[in-house]
């Protein structure tokens, strides 16, 4: 099996019984949303660095090993590297050093570093949410935020359910994908061929069964839900009722302090 696929943790919930796991999922989802916007708004590198360090601290608090985070971060490394190679040489400004005809500028270096930390923050933040929030709680939170659609005759439960199923099936699909690759490898599929064309062609025998299995799964799931009388209408009552407690209040305050703090640092140390 492909070693990356074999152990991918993308979208996986890791139960470690930490405080972070106990925080109200609505607050966690809301924080990730707010922070995503903030991270995209930051103009300097200091705020990004601070955010990243703060995120790492929360990982520590949530008892999620950094190895799990690294598995998610690893995915963006090739993209970042390619973008960095281009930017580092192309952005004009004060030249730090030259290699042959390529000029490396201070602006280029800072831009690349910022891009790196921006992407890392985004990935770590969203991964933190899925590591510490069970799919069930996540649906509850999504449903809460989807309430306004009732005004237009929509059903928040249906929306939340669809999203949660999608999230729930990411790891399953990865497992499925791993199994299919293993099966085709056993039949000499040229995944390791030095020729790019051969290697790309080797993926057709993977995609077709994956689609087949996925649509079969979806059909089975729909049948199972129907036969248990699932209806996503607004008359559903809830088994788990979310309550905003003391812990959540403390977390909210901390989160606000961090958000305001990093934003202030960013605007205060503008373009540093």
């Amino acid at each position: 099996m492909n070693p990356i696929l074999q152990e991918v943790t993308l979208g996986n919930f890791l139960q470690t019984n930490s405080v972070v796991h106990k925080i109200d999922p609505r607050l966690k989802l809301g924080s990730v949303f707010v922070y995503t916007i903030l991270i995209c708004m930051f103009r300097g590198i200091y705020a990004l660095l601070l955010t990243f360090v703060a995120l790492l601290a929360v990982y520590k608090g949530a008892k999620i090993p950094l190895k799990a985070l690294w598995k998610n971060l690893k995915v963006i490394v090739p993209i970042i590297t390619i973008a960095a190679m281009v930017n580092i040489f192309l952005i004009p400004g004060s030249v730090v050093f030259e290699i042959w005809f390529l000029k490396v500028t201070k602006e280029g270096l800072i831009f690349t570093l910022m891009m790196f930390f921006r992407a890392s923050c985004l990935v770590s933040g969203t991964a933190l949410l899925t590591f510490t929030t069970s799919p069930g709680s996540l649906v509850d939170a999504l449903e809460y935020f989807a309430r306004p659609v009732r005004m237009f005759g929509g059903s928040p439960n249906e929306i939340a359910m669809a999203i949660s199923i999608a999230i729930r099936f990411v790891p399953t699909l990865f497992t499925e994908l791993g199994k299919i690759i293993a099966a085709q490898k056993s039949r000499v599929a040229p995944f390791d061929s030095p020729k790019l064309r051969e290697r790309l062609r080797a993926y057709l025998p993977v995609i077709v069964p994956l689609f087949h299995i996925t649509s079969k799964r979806a059909e089975d799931l729909a049948c199972a839900m129907e036969s248990r009388c699932y209806a996503g209408n607004n008359k559903r009552t809830k088994f788990r009722i979310l309550r905003f407690g003391t812990l959540d209040f403390v977390a909210l305050v901390l989160m606000l302090v961090c958000a305001v703090g990093t934003f202030w640092v960013d605007r205060w140390r503008l373009y540093s």
């Binding site: 152990e7 099966a183 039949r187 000499v188 069964p209």
Partner: protein, 281 residues
């Protein structure tokens, strides 16, 4: 000969959901043997066999094939070993049955005449009728898909054939048919066969040597008769012995002079022998 030396496999190592799937396994598969691997679900059977062709690499330890280490990381698949994975019908992707079975041989870069010959041989092997060659495999029944998947590995003519629960979900006629053919193939070609199975009747009938896995460890190993001699130990780990063996153990308990038997054929001879001795008295 394939040798497992202190093989340990850990999934998700270092994460909270870490799982030790194989724990210091030492095994030896001789050429031309028919070996059964039994153990309850989750005991590590599939993980064990996937090391045989290099699909999985051990976390520690190594696997030797004829003295050569095939478990080095980065080394590709060892095509002398053909594995039919669990639920192999999930791998089907081609438009026609012919293309599906020809996938392996084609990747081995055989010429078209040889491919045709091998597909015909493999179809015959698993008992599929010739007239479905040009139909889409997706239109066929579950049992037929299974046979196609098995045929696609058979067509590669591996020296060692590994089957991971090949008969689960098939009807009883289909089960018997496939195993009978694999058994004949093994006798004729002296192929090594490794059969992962839940069905003790199957194991008793075809297998020479049994390996019992329990919680990632090899707990018992030996000839079929030796293993089924200990029904209580097997029951403790959630496995059974064939029903005919239970019946004969009962006869013995009731004071009849019978040997332990594990297959219907043995039972028949033993039964007639018993009848004769009783009549002579």
């Amino acid at each position: 000969m394939i040798v497992y030396e202190n093989v340990t496999h850990i999934y998700n190592r270092g994460l909270p959901n870490q799982q030790i799937a194989l724990d210091d396994v030492n095994l030896r598969f001789e050429d031309g043997e028919f070996v059964g691997i039994i153990g309850r679900t989750g005991s590590g059977k599939s993980t064990l066999v996937q090391h045989m062709n290099g699909l999985l690499k051990p976390t520690t330890g190594r696997i030797l094939m004829d003295g050569k280490d095939v478990s080095i990381k980065g080394l590709g698949i060892n095509f002398n070993v053909g594995i039919v994975l669990q639920n192999p019908e999930d791998q089907i992707f081609e438009q026609t049955v012919f293309k599906e079975i020809a996938f392996g041989p084609q990747n081995m870069k055989l010429d078209s005449g040889e491919i045709k010959r091998r597909v015909a041989m493999a179809m015959d092997f698993v008992g599929l009728p010739k007239d479905i060659l040009e139909t889409s495999p997706f239109d066929l029944s579950g049992g037929q898909k299974r046979r196609i998947a098995i045929a696609s590995v058979i067509a590669m003519q591996p020296r060692v054939l590994v089957l991971d629960e090949p008969t689960s979900g098939l009807d009883s006629a289909g089960k018997k048919n496939i195993l009978q053919r694999i058994y004949e193939h093994h006798k004729k070609e002296k192929t090594t066969v490794v059969l992962v199975s839940h069905n003790m009747e199957e194991v008793a009938q075809y297998v020479e040597r049994v390996v019992v896995l329990e919680k990632a460890k090899v707990t018992m190993e030996g000839k079929v008769d030796e293993i089924f001699e200990k029904p209580n130990e097997l029951r403790k780990i959630g496995l059974d012995i064939p029903r005919i063996s239970v019946a004969f153990l009962k006869l013995k308990e009731l004071g009849y002079d019978v040997k332990n038997v594990h297959t219907l054929k043995q039972a028949k001879t033993e039964f007639f022998r018993l009848k004769k001795t009783l009549q002579e008295r």
